[in-house]
């Protein structure tokens, strides 16, 4: 199992654990590195009942067919990426078997599964001013009337792309960025947060 071996996340270079120790009074924004576990891109035809059922049976989540929505249960998330494309995010031990299980469940269907667990870094963003920070860098409307808990969208963040997922109404967001852009995205977000008071939290779940 690779878990027991040394690995280095995209944001390790920033030394965030040490920075998380510095307390900030009433932060408007809190940033954290999120370690989410296995990420798989799943492709297939949502109109095929067997496909949706197959994905559901393995992940325990309904396939989100409504554009720009995500389904989440515990530490499992299934995000809509396109009309025939989803991202499954599953935390916990031993989940590298997930791709195999999915492939077995979908064996007779036209589908594709790509392991992208290392493709994206995930940054957690929350706090009363979190939405303000994002609106500096994305032209997507994030007003609660149109983007709420369970919404996700692929958009710009400054000069890079992100997959944005709103986890709750606080608001709390997960921001997925391509790994090589992670340091840029982090520094962009922390710069943009500074005027509201920025706190850095310790990492979330460990892969």
């Amino acid at each position: 199992m690779p878990e027991k071996y040394q690995w280095q996340s995209a944001l390790a270079t920033l030394g965030l654990e040490a920075r998380a120790l510095a307390p900030v009074a009433e932060p408007g924004v809190t940033l954290s590195e999120r370690r989410v576990g296995t990420q798989l891109v799943i492709r297939g035809d949502a109109a095929e009942a067997e496909f949706a059922a197959g994905v559901s049976s393995v992940l325990g989540l309904d396939l989100p067919t409504e554009p720009k929505t995500a389904h989440r249960k515990g530490d499992r998330t299934l995000l809509w990426l396109g009309p025939d494309e989803w991202l499954a995010v599953v935390a916990g031990e031993g989940e590298d078997r997930l791709a195999v299980s999915l492939a077995e469940a979908l064996v007779d269907l036209h589908h594709a599964i790509a392991d992208v667990s290392h493709s994206r870094a995930v940054i957690g963003l929350e706090g009363p001013r979190a939405r303000e920070v994002l609106m500096k860098g994305t032209n997507v409307d994030l007003h609660p009337r149109v983007f709420a808990e369970g919404s996700c969208v692929q958009a710009h963040l400054g000069r890079c792309h992100m997959l944005l997922h709103q986890l709750d109404a606080a608001p709390r967001y997960d921001i997925y960025v391509h790994r090589s852009f992670a340091v840029y995205a982090w520094s962009w977000l922390s710069d943009a947060s500074r005027e509201y008071g920025l706190s850095i939290a310790s990492s979330g779940a460990v892969r």
């Binding site: 554009p67 720009k68 396109g82 032209n139």
Partner: protein, 98 residues
């Protein structure tokens, strides 16, 4: 900056899209059967109308290609429709060079 409605992601600024030229130009089934002139026509000749233009765009969010009907004078977008679909209603593709 244009506001374009992706059939899946909804309205977004044009920086979230990439332009892909005139729509409904089918790649010939048997390119080897075409004369140089016919192939050149497929490759290079476009209608370039003043007014209604059917064109292809790709959404940089969901990465799907789709068709847009845009007025080249006013930049007004009157319809968007999916790849493989025909332009809705009364919209006609501007005539190719005869």
């Amino acid at each position: 900056m244009l506001l374009i409605e992706c059939p899946w992601c909804g309205p977004r600024d044009d920086q979230d899209f990439t332009y892909g030229g005139e729509a409904h130009i089918a790649r010939p089934e048997r390119p080897e059967k075409l004369s140089d002139e016919q192939w050149g026509d497929y490759l290079f000749m476009r209608s370039n109308p003043k007014g209604t233009h059917l064109e292809r765009w790709v959404c940089n969010g969901c990465r799907r290609w789709f068709n847009v009907c845009r007025d080249t004078v006013t930049d007004e977008i009157t319809a968007v429709y999916r790849m493989g679909e025909k332009p809705p209603g009364a919209i006609k593709k501007a005539g190719r060079k005869s």
